[in-house]
């Protein structure tokens, strides 16, 4: 065969040709654009249309952003400096940033306290969020954090949070002792022990001179700004997850009273708008108290938002529980686990994993809903903007800059939460894809 071939062709190349680069249109950015942006006529039209839209948006917003005034006394100053040119009046942010972040009544020489509490928040939630990577001893700090943060933000006698902490610790030990007998004895014994400790502690703290406080006390009324949103968001989310789990389990319980209490609670709360609950917290409760008593407004609001969020989370978790095949429950039973063990070791880890997107959805929604408190005259971030800042003669009329700033703060937090939840889902994947 080879002989034949040799004779039939005049020339045979004996060396390899050097590799030529692919044609320009088949490589690099051009290839990418051809494939992704201009693959066919409709694609090209869409691409061009999108570019035009993006151009118009940038053309309108960039000069406004870049030309912004950061140093002025009032909106009239801004306009004078700009002389009709497009430009944002960001001076309102440089002048009022502290009010936007901390509210207008938090003493300004004490700003370091909420700031430290905020930074420590990351230290405290890290062991919970990255439980695979951080040794569990650090959870001790997480348990201490609520009391520390309370003391930092509200100030006053350090004894008050310590008494609260001791109450919990005593309650825990009593529970540990009594739970052998039965769960109910343990639970009610723990509650009773804690209440006794708090009562005695309350007498002691009441007798102490508040002048001796290491940190200047700050009243709840003085909390405001984004700090208030963060306090409400963090406290309510972290309280509503355990309560939500309890409600979801209670709703599936075979004990009729517990089941019906949970069902009624969940259905009632879900059937009422959050704003209604907030009005109840603010307005209606005031009628039940003697004049002069002021049951802390923040606590009232926290209770209402927590109740609201836990009803939703309970339903999300119930969805997760329902998604588990019955085989999982039967497997737990066949291993001889009791109810608590089965739930803790087999059912809940799987159900919660399924529920993560739903829980995060509720958490993000709840965090944004904290701005509703501005309607009951609390000065959260939005309340600060709508009330004091827009009502000041200097800044009346500055809308885009302020609400843009608020949107930015909320976006950063909510996007962070959502990214974490996606990471967590990947981390917990156990199926084989």
């Amino acid at each position: 065969m080879s002989d034949m071939h040799q004779h039939s062709v005049a020339y045979v190349r004996e060396t390899m040709l050097p590799e030529a680069p692919p044609p320009a249109r088949e490589q690099g950015i051009i290839k990418w654009m051809r494939e992704n942006l201009f693959a066919n006529v409709p694609n090209s039209i869409l691409t061009i249309a999108s570019i035009v839209v993006i151009y118009y948006i940038l053309a309108a917003s960039l000069p406004w952003l870049l030309n912004g005034i950061w140093n002025a006394e009032s909106i009239r100053d801004c306009r004078e400096i700009l002389q009709g040119a497009a430009g944002g009046c960001f001076a309102v942010l440089t002048e009022r940033w502290n009010q936007l972040l901390f509210g207008f009544q938090y003493p300004d020489d004490q700003y370091w306290r909420p700031l430290i509490a905020f930074l420590l928040l990351f230290v405290a939630i890290a062991p919970v969020m990255f439980f695979k990577y951080i040794p569990s001893q650090f959870l001790l700090f997480t348990a201490l954090y609520p009391f520390l943060a309370y003391w930092l933000i509200w100030g006053g006698l350090i004894l008050a949070p310590i008494v609260a902490l001791v109450g919990f610790v005593v309650g825990y030990f009593v529970w540990g002792r009594l739970v052998q007998r039965s769960f109910a004895t343990g639970f009610f014994g723990a509650v009773a022990a804690a209440v006794i400790v708090w009562w005695i502690g309350g007498l002691i703290t009441a007798g102490m001179d508040p002048e001796q406080a290491m940190l200047v006390p700050v009243a709840s009324r003085d909390m405001g700004g984004f700090m208030l949103n963060l306090i409400l968001g963090t406290v309510c989310v972290s309280l509503s997850i355990p309560i939500g789990i309890a409600l979801a389990l209670g709703r599936q319980s075979s004990m009729p009273i517990i089941k019906w209490i949970c069902v009624v609670f969940i259905e009632f709360i879900r059937g009422v708008p959050l704003i209604t609950l907030l009005f109840v917290a603010n307005v209606v409760l005031a009628y039940f108290f003697p004049p002069g008593t002021n049951f802390d407004l923040i606590i009232r609001v926290i209770i209402m938002i927590t109740a609201f969020a836990s009803a939703y989370i309970a339903e999300v978790i119930r969805g997760g529980l329902a998604a588990l095949p019955t085989g999982q429950y039967e497997a737990a039973d066949s291993l001889g686990l009791d109810y608590a063990q089965a739930m803790r070791l087999i059912i809940l880890p799987q159900a919660l994993k399924i529920s993560i997107p739903g829980i995060v959805n509720v958490a993000v929604g709840l965090f944004k809903d904290t701005t509703l408190v501005s309607v009951i005259s609390m000065f959260d971030l939005v309340g600060m903007i709508r009330g004091p800042i827009l009502a000041s003669t200097e800044w009346n009329g500055v809308y885009w800059e302020l609400f843009g700033f608020a949107a930015l703060l909320f976006f950063v937090v909510c996007y962070g939460i959502s990214q974490y939840s996606q990471w967590l889902e990947r981390e917990l994947t156990t199926d084989h894809k």
């Binding site: 009022r96 004049p291 009502a391």
Partner: protein, 339 residues
């Protein structure tokens, strides 16, 4: 701890609800501070400044009362209230008085069981139009689109006004003043209507205020004043006469600048002497000391000074005195005699 407070509060609540009405004056003195309800923010009337200090025309009334009762204009705990929470805050005793540009109406006075202690600003509903529209009277607004806040008395007043003048209009319902501002500037409506003071404040915030005019017609009466709970007349008297003292001081020419001299020794005018406590015992009758009115006026100046400083023509709000001038200047401000 809070749980015990809560339960205790519930038990006591029923017992003390009856006793709540009386003796606000004693409560305030014992507490050492006045709980005064204000708005969450209204340009010129009440808003905290960059340092968190409340300032404004309504705030001035609170400070005057605190100065009269407690001797210290800063001894005020300002309780911000919204239009929805203000009346419950007062009725429940959370605040001692409400100075929150609240219109004095029959039903609020009688049915809601409050007592208006006077009028510190005579307002009324007005119209604002762009100058380009070439309209000089509200009677020429036939067929106009009107931006109007829903659920307010202004909505009803507007309907009345247009019907009684046989004109038609197209309402553009909006929720807040800020929204109205944006809609109006964007041309979504020809006319914006709300209280005249609000219109002036809104216009002052515009980039070019001179391109908009506020029409001369005022189509409603909105007398704004401080109010207290029914049933505690002593406290009501204190608030009423503090406000009257501010108004009377302007009439008699007593200002924060000359008050120290005038109060040092009796002047030629017996009326001023009685007001400032150098003659007679008016303070004693109120349950206060003789210098009460002197301190109230010294706190932020007389009525005219408060007006000029917060909402007058030299401020960005730029309101003319109009109806709120002294009766001697053709206005409605008329304090009953101090004797």
């Amino acid at each position: 701890m809070n749980k015990t407070v809560f339960l205790g509060a519930l038990t006591v609540a029923g017992l003390s609800a009856g006793a709540a009405a009386a003796a606000t004056l004693d409560d305030v003195k014992a507490r050492g501070s006045l709980n005064c309800g204000v708005t969450t923010g209204l340009v010129g009337f009440a808003a905290p400044d960059a340092n968190g200090e409340w300032d404004g025309f309504d705030v001035g009334v609170c400070r005057a009362v605190a100065a009269a009762v407690l001797g210290d204009p800063t001894a005020v705990e300002f309780v911000p209230t919204t239009g929805k929470t203000r009346f419950t805050a007062l009725a429940s005793g959370e605040i001692d008085m409400l100075a929150r540009n609240t219109t004095w109406t029959f039903s609020r006075d009688v049915d809601l069981k409050f007592e208006f202690t006077g009028i510190n600003y005579y307002d009324g509903q007005g119209f604002m139009v762009p100058k380009d529209l070439g309209v000089s009277s509200a009677k020429e607004l036939d067929g106009a689109t009107v931006c109007i806040q829903t659920g307010t008395t202004t909505e009803l007043n507007l309907a009345d006004f247009f019907r009684s003048n046989n004109m038609s209009y197209e309402p553009v319902p909006i929720e807040t003043n800020a929204e109205a501002q944006q809609n109006y500037l964007a041309g979504a409506c020809d006319v914006y209507t709300t209280d005249a003071s609000g219109l002036a404040a809104t216009r002052a915030a515009f980039e070019d205020p001179s391109a908009h005019v506020i029409l001369p017609e005022i189509v409603s009466k909105e007398p704004l004043g401080p109010l207290v709970r029914h049933g505690d007349n002593e406290w009501g008297d204190v608030v009423r006469w503090t406000l009257n003292a501010l108004v009377a001081a302007e009439e008699y020419g007593v200002t924060s600048a000359n008050i120290a001299d005038m109060a040092a020794e009796p002047t030629d005018s017996p009326e001023i002497n009685r007001l400032l406590g150098t003659e007679g015992n008016l303070g004693e009758m109120l349950g206060l000391d003789a210098d009460w009115a002197m301190r109230a006026i010294a706190a932020g100046g007389n009525y005219g000074e408060l007006f000029e400083k917060n909402i007058g023509e030299n401020t960005p709000v730029g309101l003319a005195r109009g109806l709120n001038a002294q009766w001697t200047d053709g206005g409605l401000m008329y304090a009953p005699p101090f004797r």
